[in-house]
Each structure stands twice: as C-alpha cells, then as structure tokens.
C-alpha cells in the first residue's frame, strides 16, 4: 500500500511529540523509523495505525485520507513491542482472531492459520499458550497474528527489543525474508542503527519529533543532511578546530565550522604504510582497545583526539608510539549548513611537484 503523510503534528499535554512530519512510502518497501528513545517514532507509528489521532496533518493510504477511520478499518497489522498476545488463547486462536472477526469460513481459517504457522516455523506449537513459548516464538506468533487478515500495511513497534542479542540477529534476517516473500509495505520502529541499516530498504531518522532525513541506509551514511544524522549514524568524533588538521586548512569555510570525523575516514599507521606521506601528519597513540575483530585506536593529533580502527593483520601499535595519521574526509557543519570536505592534499597529484 502506498502511504503518504502530510504535516503530521501531535502534542501530549505540553509535550510536542511529533512536529510537522511529512513523508511518503512506496508500495512494498520496508522502512525503518530510527532515532533516540522519546523522539516520536512510536507516536508516528501509532497515528498510522489509528491508535492515536493527530492534532493536525493528513494520513493518506492509497490516495485516500484515513484520519477519520478507526484502527479496525485501516487494514493494518500491528506488532507490539511486548507482542500483546492474547494470553488466554492458544497460538492457533491468537492467529485466527483477526480472521474470526472477519467472519471467515472455518475451513478457510484453518488453512490460513496452518499456512502462517508453517511460514513462521511454529508447527507443533498451535495448542500452546503464550506463557509456554520463548520470546522469539512469541514474537513470531505476533507476526503471524498481524499477517493473518492480510493487511495492506504492517507496522512493527521495536519488534526485537525484548529478545536477546543472538536470537535477535536470526530474527532480523528471518523478518527481512518473510516481508520480502509476503511483499507487504512495512514500517518498523527501532533505536538500534545496526538493525535499521541491516533490515530496512529506507531509513527515516526521527529526532525531537522531527523527520531529520529519509533515504537508503547508504545515502544516509554517505550524505547525512544534518549534524544530528551524521553523529547518530555510525561512530564519530567531533573536532572543534578542523583548521588545525592537515589538509583541511582552507581559509574561510573552516573558520566557524566544527567537524565530525568517522573512524573509517581516518587511516593510521607507520610511515611505510602510506603512499601519500605528504598528506599525513604525526600523532601519538593514546589508547588501544581490543574490539574482537580489530583494534580501536585513540590517537592524539595536535589538540584533537581522534578515534579509528586498525586491522589485526597490520603491525600492532603501542601506546605512546608516534604514528602517521591520514584524515580522508570530514563532515563539516556550522549553525546554518553542513557539507563534506575531502582532504585537499590527498587530491593534489604528486606529478605537479615533479
């Protein structure tokens, strides 16, 4: 289902939860609403479902405004954060609930439920009660229940929040495949960027009730449109005086700007590891943290402390060691605008000097 939202606004008492949010979602896409807790993600989701009503703005499904429609008539499926399974009903009855409401024939209900039980890998658990299931299984019952009446739009509120890390990983992949197979437009809320990046076709970053940016995970990573997005996605270090770093000394632009540098924008190593030694500058290793598959290195360059990663395959650095640091690019911003600056020295071809 094609979903469009125009100028959505919502207050809870004095609290401005959602502020002038507009977006549209193409049919069949899987969208992640990502942002810090209390940012308004869940409020947006609940307004789409009709569980909250917006103060102003329009919600349009298939080109028709649905603001006045109750949740019962919006043809949506909703998966709650804590699943909200009907605890006195068996798995079968939970999944069949939406179909019974629709007055589907008995045989059709049985067929549809067994199809969903198959799809969600719950075979053999049809007659269990929710309290007899594990977290992951409850989660899947919640999916099956939401999908049973064949909704046009699937809404998921923090679907993996209550599941332990290992199973969460499996469920993510499973969910992604399931949604692809069913081909249903879906929106899920999360505060976990890895989850959003891994699962979603497109991400919407929500902060302080506003939509900061909407785009594919790659676009958002590469071209963050606000400092908040830049700092929220991926890891980063904020540098106050970017002009001090070699290659970023351009006059004017850097004067009022602060910079945000991701670990992967920085290369660190011994002199012989660089092809363009002229673009690097000296720094001192301050800390080494072992991160399982690589080293996280804190390095001091002038007054700035930068963070980067180094492969375990390369020579191990030591704390206090002098190293060369190459900053490939930085994300610069001031109060009005933001832009990406490449290292000026790196771009200079050596041949000019020969």
């Amino acid at each position: 289902m094609h979903v469009e939202v125009r100028h959505l606004d919502k207050h809870f008492g004095q609290f401005h939860a959602v502020q002038d949010v507009s977006f549209s979602i193409a049919k069949g896409h899987l969208i992640g609403l990502l942002g810090p807790s209390g940012g308004g993600k869940t409020s947006i989701l609940r307004m789409l479902a009709g569980l909250e009503s917006p103060d102003s703005g329009e919600i349009i499904f298939h080109g028709k405004a649905v603001n006045h429609l109750p949740p019962q008539e919006r043809e949506i499926g909703f998966v709650f954060q804590n699943y909200a399974l009907f605890k006195h009903m068996t798995v079968f009855d939970n999944i069949a609930f939406g179909l019974k409401v629709k007055k589907t024939r008995k045989e059709a209900i049985r067929d549809r439920v067994s199809e969903l039980v198959e799809l969600t890998g719950l075979s053999g658990f049809e007659h269990r009660y929710p309290h007899q299931l594990s977290g992951g299984q409850r989660q899947r019952v919640a999916f099956a229940r939401a999908l049973a009446p064949e909704p046009q739009l699937l809404l998921l509120d923090e679907p993996f929040a209550a599941i332990d890390a290992k199973i969460r990983q499996e469920l993510r992949t499973w969910l992604r495949e399931l949604i692809e197979r069913v081909g249903i437009t879906s929106i899920f809320v999360t505060h976990d960027q890895d989850e959003a990046i891994e699962v979603a076709d497109e991400i919407m970053i929500i902060n302080g009730g506003r939509l900061e940016q909407k785009g594919t995970p790659w676009d958002i990573y590469k071209q963050p449109s606000t400092p908040f997005v830049a700092s929220f996605i991926g890891e980063s270090t904020i540098v106050d005086e970017i002009g001090q770093l070699k290659g970023f000394e351009q006059p004017g632009a850097a004067d009022y700007a602060r910079a945000l540098i991701r670990p992967e924008y920085i290369e660190i190593g011994l002199a012989h590891e660089f092809r363009l030694l002229s673009a690097t500058e000296k720094g001192t290793v301050k800390h080494m943290h072992f991160r399982g598959s690589q080293w996280m290195v804190e390095v001091e360059v002038g007054a700035n402390r930068l963070i980067t990663y180094r492969s375990l395959e390369k020579d191990t650095l030591e704390v206090g060691q002098e190293v060369h640091v190459l900053v490939h690019r930085a994300y610069l911003f001031n109060d009005q605008e933001s832009w990406i600056a490449e290292n000026a020295l790196k771009a200079d071809p050596l041949s000019v000097f020969i």
């Binding site: 569980l51 109750p70 019962q72 009907f86 605890k87 006195h88 939406g98 049973a148």
Partner: protein, 265 residues
C-alpha cells in the same frame, strides 16, 4: 515468647469468632430441632429471608454491571480528565468511610416522601423509601466499592496492549470486551460478586433506616433478627442469624476454593 503470641492470637480469634458462633448454634437449638424449624417457618421469617434473597439478587446483578463499567471508565476512560478520574476514584471509597446508617439517612433525606424527588416518584406510583427500591439503593450504596476495587487493579495490570491489538485486528469494543478483556478480569469479577453477596446478606444499618422495618413488608433477615432480639425471642433470633452465618461462611469458603483454582490456571 512466640508461644505467648500464638496463644494470644487464638484467644482473640476465639473470643471474636469461634465462641459467638458456638453460642449462636447452641442458642438456635436450645429448644431442639423443632424450635429451630419453627423459628424459621414463621411467615415473617420466611418473608424476611425472601426479601434478603431478592435484595441480594438485584444488588449483585446491578453492582456487577455498574461496578465493572465504573472500573473500566476509571482505568480506561481517557476522555475524562485525570483530575476528574482521581476525584471519582476517591468517591468510590466513600461507602467504606461513611457509616451505613448515615448512608441510609442520606437516601431518606434525598428520596423520602417529604422531598421533591420522593413526591415525584410516589405520584407516578413508584415508592422508593420504605419500600423495596430504597432497600436496593441502600445496599448498592454499601456494596458499591467491592466490585470496583476488585476489577480496577486487574485492568491496570493487563494494560491496553491486548485491547489495542484486538482493535488493529478489526475487533470493535463489544467483541474486544468479551473475548479479550473479560477472560482477564473474570476472576476479579467472581471475587467481587462473592464479596457483594456476603455484604448484602449481612447489611443492617442502611437497610434498617431506609426500610422502616415493616413486618412482612420491608423486613429483611438481619432486621428480623434485630426485632426478635428486641422482643426477647432469642431462639428465633439465633435461628435466623445462624442461617445467615452459614451462608456467609459457605460463600467465603467458596471464594477460597476459587482462589486456589485460579492459581492452578
């Protein structure tokens, strides 16, 4: 020391409950089984027991319906402001704090034959005070908090998630109530019902004031016991009192069993 406390507890328990029960039983049978039967088969005794039974039936039904509704509105009624709900919530407890006699008096002052409302009802041929409706209202006043207070915490605990889930699956409020909310609050309603029955069986003060205690008309079992005592008809008083006591104890035992069954589920 511990032994002393145990003995003391038993002592208090005996003085307050056991000994009166034994005295009540022996008193009821001090003229033998025949005296007991005769006390109960007096026309005024049969009528009084029937009145009590009718009041219990009507009050339990009304209190069931309105108690559950009140509980739902107080917990879920977001259309009422928070302050208003808090106010109602404290008013619900009023019958606990106010003496039943005063409760009865309020009803007489409000609906009695000398008042505007009372006169109005009397003119359309509906006597409230010194008649069955007034007694039902008085008993309702006394028992009202029982159902609400049983249902509210359960509603708060289950939250709105399951109900919201039902609404996104297409169910409207009637179906949602019976298929989702009701199974969760069922046991609370059963407790509330048992407490209401027990309380309305034993209600005395409010009913005495409102009914006028007219023999064979508005006399209930408790007010009959009172009248028998006034007339020094101790055996009869004990007999009726014993019937009431047996019913109440039976109900409370039933409630204990119900609790056990719930734990099994």
């Amino acid at each position: 020391m511990r032994r002393l406390w145990i003995t003391l507890t038993w002592l208090v328990f005996s003085i307050l409950i056991l000994i009166p029960l034994v005295v009540l039983t022996t008193g009821a049978f001090d003229e033998g089984g025949a005296g007991f039967v005769q006390a109960l088969s007096r026309p005024e005794a049969l009528h009084a027991l029937m009145m009590t039974g009718l009041i219990v039936l009507v009050v339990t039904a009304l209190n069931g319906i309105f108690g559950i509704m009140m509980g739902i509105y107080l917990v879920r009624g977001t259309w009422l402001s928070r302050k208003l709900r808090q106010l109602f919530n404290s008013i619900v407890d009023l019958p606990y704090a106010v003496s039943p006699v005063i409760g009865g008096l309020m009803i007489v002052l409000l609906l009695g034959p000398d008042t505007v409302i009372g006169t109005f009802f009397e003119q359309i041929g509906f006597k409230v005070v010194y008649a069955f409706p007034g007694m039902v209202i008085a008993t309702l006043f006394v028992t009202f908090p029982l159902m609400v207070r049983e249902v509210m915490p359960v509603l708060q605990e289950i939250g709105t998630d399951q109900e919201e889930a039902a609404s996104t699956l297409g169910a409207y409020s009637w179906r949602t109530f019976w298929q989702v909310t009701w199974p969760s609050i069922r046991w609370a309603v059963i407790y509330g019902t048992i407490l209401t029955v027990a309380r309305s069986l034993g209600e005395f003060g409010a009913v005495l004031v409102v009914s006028g205690n007219i023999i064979n008309k508005t006399q209930t079992a408790t007010t009959l016991v009172y009248q028998d005592m006034e007339n020094f008809n101790v055996t009869a008083a004990n007999g009726v009192a014993l019937v009431l006591a047996v019913f109440s104890i039976g109900l409370l035992l039933l409630m204990e069993r119900a609790k056990k069954r719930k734990e099994v589920l």
